[in-house]
């Protein structure tokens, strides 16, 4: 109940912000009867109706994960973002092994298996991507490769 109401409210607010932003769109000398603002405003208006319906007619509450599971989900998002930024400077092998191990451990908490899965995936995928598919991946940091 509550989740749907909160989400509906968020949707309405986002849609209002979207309309406000649409009104700021610069117009140009090339114009047509509809213009660049109408369609986005139409969409946002439809979204507001949907949001209001969700506030007044919410579904049953979903099973939200417990706090510690939620924490591990947040942690996995952080580590994935970190991975996105690490891929280029540090190379493919090390970040992939670490991230894959962590994800594997989070899915099923068996440390030995997780480390093996991480390292195996890292090396295996590197070989597939680099040699079978011909992607230009860098294995290690450039500084180390000389």
């Amino acid at each position: 109940m509550k989740s749907d109401r909160v989400f509906g409210l968020v949707a309405v607010l986002v849609a209002l912000a979207y309309i406000a932003s649409a009104l700021q769109i610069q117009t140009s000398f090339l114009s047509d009867p509809v213009g660049s603002k109408t369609f986005p405003i139409l969409i946002a208006s439809a979204a507001i109706i949907c949001g209001v319906v969700m506030i007044f007619k919410p579904d049953v509450e979903p099973d939200w994960p417990e706090l510690n599971v939620l924490a591990s989900l947040v942690f996995s998002v952080i580590i994935l973002v970190g991975y996105a930024y690490a891929l280029k400077p540090i190379g493919f092998l090390v970040p992939t092994a670490i991230v894959a191990s962590v994800l594997s451990y989070q899915i099923s908490p068996k440390p030995k298996f997780a480390v093996l899965a991480g390292c195996g995936l890292s090396v295996g995928l590197f070989i597939v991507f680099k040699y079978a598919l011909g992607l230009s991946l860098v294995a290690f940091p450039k500084a180390l490769m000389g």
């Binding site: 989740s3 749907d4 849609a15 979207y18 932003s21 649409a22 117009t27 140009s28 090339l30 114009s31 047509d32 009867p33 509809v34 660049s36 369609f39 986005p40 969409i43 946002a44 439809a46 979204a47 109706i49 949907c50 319906v53 969700m54 007619k57 579904d59 979903p62 939200w64 994960p65 599971v69 989900l73 996995s76 998002v77 994935l80 996105a84 930024y85 891929l87 280029k88 992939t96 991230v99 894959a100 191990s101 994800l103 594997s104 451990y105 989070q106 899915i107 099923s108 908490p109 068996k110 899965a117 991480g118 995936l121 890292s122 995928l125 991507f129 598919l133 011909g134 992607l135 991946l137």
Partner: protein, 501 residues
Amino acid sequence: MDILANLALGFDIALSPYTFLLAVIGCFLGTIIGALPGLGPSNGVAILIPITFTLGLDAVAALVLLTSVYYGAMYGGRISSILLNIPGDEPAMMTTLDGFPMAKNGRAGDALVISGVASFVGALLATLGLMLLAPLLARVAYLFGPAEYFALYLLAFSTLGGIASSNQAKAALASCAGLGIAMIGLDNTTGMPRFTGGNMHLMDGVDFLVAIVGLFAVSEVFVFIESHGKNSAVGIKLGKVTIPYREIWSTRWTMLRSSVVGFIAGVLPGAGASLGSFLTYMMEKSIAGNKGGFGTGVAKGVAAPEAGNNAAAGGALVPMLTLGVPGSGTTAVLLAVLMTLNITPGPTLFADRPDVVWGLIASLLIANFVLLAMNVPMVKVFVRILSVPPALLLPGVTMISFVGIYSLSGSYFDLVLMIAFGVMGYVFRKLDIPTVPVILGILLGNQMEDNLRRAMVLSDGDWTFLFSSAIANGLWIAAVLGFVAPLFLRRFLKKPELSED
């Protein structure tokens, strides 16, 4: 005799060793993807897209590979439904109802063979239907102007929201989210930036591949982290596989009926394979009556949904190819591939690029026979793959998604955006908001707006132009009905729950 000449052209392309090899690889990968719980046709095809680009495949080759994966995944979905009582993908859900009881009765092999043959019948008939219906529909599509296209897009969103989801407001909100995201970037008509917030990366708009991989593949990892891979219960061992000829023959009418109904469900824009398997199962159940024993493990109970969902998979290709409006989540992903390859689906595709259309159709005909061979005599190979633990599979899928998207654009921004879409997909799934309309919105948003604006330019701003032709009016009526009717029908048609064990 146009069709025969066209087919000859198609087979000429499909039987070239390279294309044939791609079709076989696609079938094999597809069956694996379908069989693994957590990987369905739409996210399976989604993570393969970047790889097809890096392989440098041309349009025909890429389409043959990915549609073979699509067909293969539809076949493969039944394997985990029957053996684990977990649908390998959403359309295979109905197969668990009779498939798993059959397996518990020690007839896992029979269930796999019967459903494999049913998949073959459904997919083959649907491919033939595609061959006959698509050129006709393409001819009708020439009559479509901007007003008609605008109404057609609306129809796709409304049927997708009306039929495929349990809450209209949520589905419509998802469509709005997708359409809203599509507006980001440069305005097609005026060339002015919209909703970019001054960010250079957003000038080009949000790449739909990033959204697709994020929503379908990355969000899956979060779902599995939450459930700790608990859904991977060890299922039933498979004994010797024999072919129960008599039982297959006894389901012949079921298969034929289900194929026809499934195909029609697939052709409806937005309805897709889940509806096909649902409708066919309910239809056969009511035809058989109480004596039919549906739900206790009968052959017809596995034949009907499998013929239905595979026929719907073929049917969903019809509106995608002829009108550029996908009939399901996976065809939306395929449409994204076509658009990235600079091929515009629609009536002109049949005239300008017959090699793409007929090469695809011929490849699908061949792929069906390959899939029958893989899914009946060789089914044991795929059963073994089910024992891959999710703790290995899902990190692998994530890494492939990252490398795939990274290889396309080489920017951090897209990777972070992909993670954001993954989080969005997870939250949406928790709240029971469908994610397919988001994809459809991102894919079709700009065209929908362009068609609206073009229509208004033609009519000099007169809004009644949108209702000026019979086709447009028919589409508007269908759109309203498609959105509203399920509200009333829902009382009578309830989705059955997964059988408890």
